[in-house]
């Protein structure tokens, strides 16, 4: 505990050092994002291009690791050293926007010729709204759908991917074959944001939401998940596997279906030695309401930025490059007016079409300033039920009580 507090103090001290920016004629706009940590990303590449093309405004770009960026931003904001622009994972966004830490850019966007709210999918746009006002702009997005191994489906004599929850459980059971170490399905029910990311859509499909998690359909969904784990149609390790490792078992042919997202496509094209496809997430009843998880990042301008006009110009530049998101960075734009160019890889192009369709149903987590606590209540309940410590109903009731205390 001492070390943590020390870390906080060291952070504040470092932040104070950072304040000493040399005086320059041009305006410096500080931009923070996670891009560029491992490979060239959106933020670092565009910042460099912007600096090369402009002299009056320069971007001071800083890479921050995914795990640190919210803590770093909180500290920086508290000590008055926040950057001008930051890009955050969408469920973390409301932590700042709801408290007025981000600039209300409703009017600026209304007057902008580059950023038009009509062009955005509903889910991503909702994640930057708070109280009817616009506090940011979606950067890129992703969602989850159902990957399935067409070869295994054919071998089992199953023509089509499952359309309803019931069908999913049956199909998973049919495809399970312990003699070849094949599970019917894999997903991630991990103790963390990924677990909520994967389970919340099921609550939403059943007519619930993050503020209303114990609807009867959600209990039914959790019972279905438990049935798949109990019958060994899914490995019990879905409780500790992240989405990347979980989908790895699909790629190696050890799971016939996987719930995962478009970030897997490149690896799957490379690794999967079989024919595969992507289907929309199954619904509670045939033709029932759809939903899916909304991933991806948003841009926000901090309210205490000294140069909000210049910061908005930089933001407009970033958004003006959205057409390059997919070809250059393999990220999906959160916009309905940008058609993805064909990649020439048939499996990938077919999959992307499904993901684009699924994106229309994607709903944000929150937005709520205490999202992380709500999320913990949801994944704790999910895990308590899947491990049989509580019934699905009791677990979700307990989560609802916790969430009620947070949402009020």
């Amino acid at each position: 505990m001492k070390l943590r507090t020390l870390g906080l103090m060291a952070g504040i001290a470092l932040g104070a050092l950072g304040m000493a920016v040399p005086a320059m004629a041009q305006t410096v706009i500080k931009v923070w994002s996670i891009d560029g940590a491992n490979a060239p990303g959106v933020g670092d590449t565009l910042s460099k291009e912007f600096n090369d093309a402009n002299t009056d405004i320069q971007i001071d770009y800083r890479i921050i690791q995914f795990d640190d960026i919210v803590n770093e931003a909180l500290r920086a904001f508290a000590t008055g050293n926040a950057p001008d622009i930051i890009s955050l994972d969408n469920p973390d966004f409301a932590l700042f926007s709801s408290r007025g830490a981000f600039l209300d850019i409703t009017d600026r966007v209304a007057a902008s010729s580059v950023i038009k709210t009509d062009n955005y999918f509903e889910g991503p746009l909702n994640s930057v709204m708070w109280d009817g006002k616009l506090y940011g702009v979606p950067k890129y997005t992703d969602t989850i759908a159902l990957f399935y191994n067409k070869d295994l489906f054919e071998k089992a004599g199953i023509a089509e991917p499952p359309k309803t929850w019931g069908e999913l459980v049956d199909t998973a059971a049919k495809l399970t074959d312990p003699s070849t170490n094949t599970y019917g399905i894999t997903f991630s029910a991990r103790a963390g944001e990924e677990g909520t990311f994967q389970f919340l859509p099921w609550i939403q499909m059943a007519g619930g939401g993050y503020e209303n998690v114990n609807v009867p359909g959600a209990v039914e969904a959790l019972d279905y998940w438990k049935a798949m784990v109990d019958s060994k149609s899914a490995s019990q390790d879905v409780l500790s596997l992240g989405q990347w490792d979980s989908t790895g078992t699909f790629n190696s042919g050890n799971a016939a279906m996987a719930v995962s997202g478009p970030w897997e496509l490149d690896r799957m094209v490379e690794d999967a030695k079989f024919d595969w496809g992507v289907a929309l997430l199954p619904t509670q009843t045939e033709g029932g309401p759809r939903s899916s998880a909304l991933g991806g990042f948003n841009y926000g301008i901090f309210a205490n930025s000294k140069n909000p006009d210049e910061a908005f110009k930089v933001l407009e530049f970033f958004i003006s490059q959205d057409e390059r998101l997919f070809p250059d960075f393999s990220s999906l734009p959160a916009r309905n007016d940008i058609a993805l160019p064909e990649t020439g890889i048939a499996l990938k192009d077919a999959a992307l079409k499904v993901f684009q369709e699924q994106l229309q149903y994607a709903q944000p987590r929150g937005p709520h300033p205490e999202w992380q606590k709500i999320s913990k209540a949801i994944y704790d309940a999910m895990q308590a039920a899947l491990t049989g410590q509580m019934s699905a109903k009791d677990a979700l009731d307990q989560a609802q009580a916790t969430i009620q205390g947070i949402v009020g």
Partner: protein, 300 residues
């Protein structure tokens, strides 16, 4: 003037400087953060007040809220199990190994040195390795157990609530074992040989020699090893994110990891501070018990 200078070089002044330096160091690096932490646990903390010391006073509401969390008692139980099981495992196996290597067979010192490898490795790496070993479907340990015919079913060490905490305990025992062994070896080496020779002449068997010579002579060492073990185990952090992330459903969550989750994943800094203050009180209590239990002893 020269008297003062003189005393600074040699005398009371010099002592004061030494004490002062130690106190400044202690207060700045341990005292202030500790006080800051305690103060924070009685305040409302949010992003607007994170950078200032003066925040709205919250009384005991943070403490009440922490105790009312549905996972509070589970985490408390887990913490106690984790601490006692880890310490017992590290100590008993460490002591056994120390006695074994004290037999001075050829190469004993070298092999004992090699054991330190586990202690040198960063916790996250150890966690990563054990994560492979304890994996469910393709885990090394399961393959061995099945190969030996001890079990037919796959044991999901990290995902089964009956095993999740124990998987971290196993990794933690392995991590702290070498350190325990080393300290205990040093203690063993300090016991004069002639005591054993005399006892042997008097006809004491191996068990009697261990019980009446080794254990009493090792008392201060054992006390130190257990204290360090308690501290090391309570501050163990790296293994949790690498192995179970406290899951499933908090069945392997302990106070230290929970405090971190509160502060740096749920951004509730006040509750994070509150949990760490509770941990501090627990350690303080344990220390008082330890000090009292050894007060009347003659140290060797």
């Amino acid at each position: 003037m020269s008297r003062i200078l003189n005393s600074m070089r040699d005398g009371v002044g010099f002592d004061l400087i030494l004490v002062g330096a130690a106190m400044v160091f202690l207060v700045a690096l341990a005292g202030l953060p500790l006080v800051y932490n305690v103060v924070m646990s009685f305040q409302q903390v949010d992003m607007f007040t994170l950078g200032s010391l003066v925040r709205p006073f919250a009384g005991f509401t943070n403490y009440v809220a922490v105790v009312q969390q549905p996972e509070f008692w589970l985490v408390t139980k887990n913490t106690l199990i984790f601490v006692f099981a880890s310490m017992a495992g590290q100590f008993i196996i460490g002591f056994a190994l120390a006695l074994f290597f004290a037999q001075n067979f050829p190469g004993a010192a070298t092999i004992r040195g090699l054991f330190l490898v586990s202690w040198v490795m960063p916790g996250l790496v150890v966690g990563g390795i054990w994560s492979f070993i304890l994996a469910g479907d393709y885990g090394v340990l399961n393959a061995i157990l099945k190969g030996l015919g001890l079990t037919q079913a796959t044991i999901f060490w990290k995902s089964d609530p009956n095993f999740s905490l124990w998987s971290v305990v196993i990794a933690n025992i392995w991590l702290g074992l070498a350190f325990n062994m080393l300290l205990l070896s040093v203690g063993l080496a300090a016991i004069p040989r002639d005591l054993y020779e005399a006892a042997e002449l008097d006809g004491a068997n191996a068990f009697q020699r261990f019980w009446t010579i080794t254990l009493p002579m090792m008392r201060p060492t054992i006390g130190a090893v257990l204290s360090l073990g308690l501290i090391g185990t309570l501050q163990q952090f790296d293994l949790f994110p690498a192995l179970t992330e406290g899951g499933p459903a908090n069945t392997s969550n302990v106070a230290g990891y929970w405090a971190w989750q509160m502060s740096f994943q749920l951004y509730d800094f006040a509750k994070g501070a509150t949990i760490s203050v509770m941990m501090f009180v627990l350690v303080l209590f344990a220390s008082v018990v330890y000090v009292r239990s050894t007060r009347h002893e003659v140290r060797g």
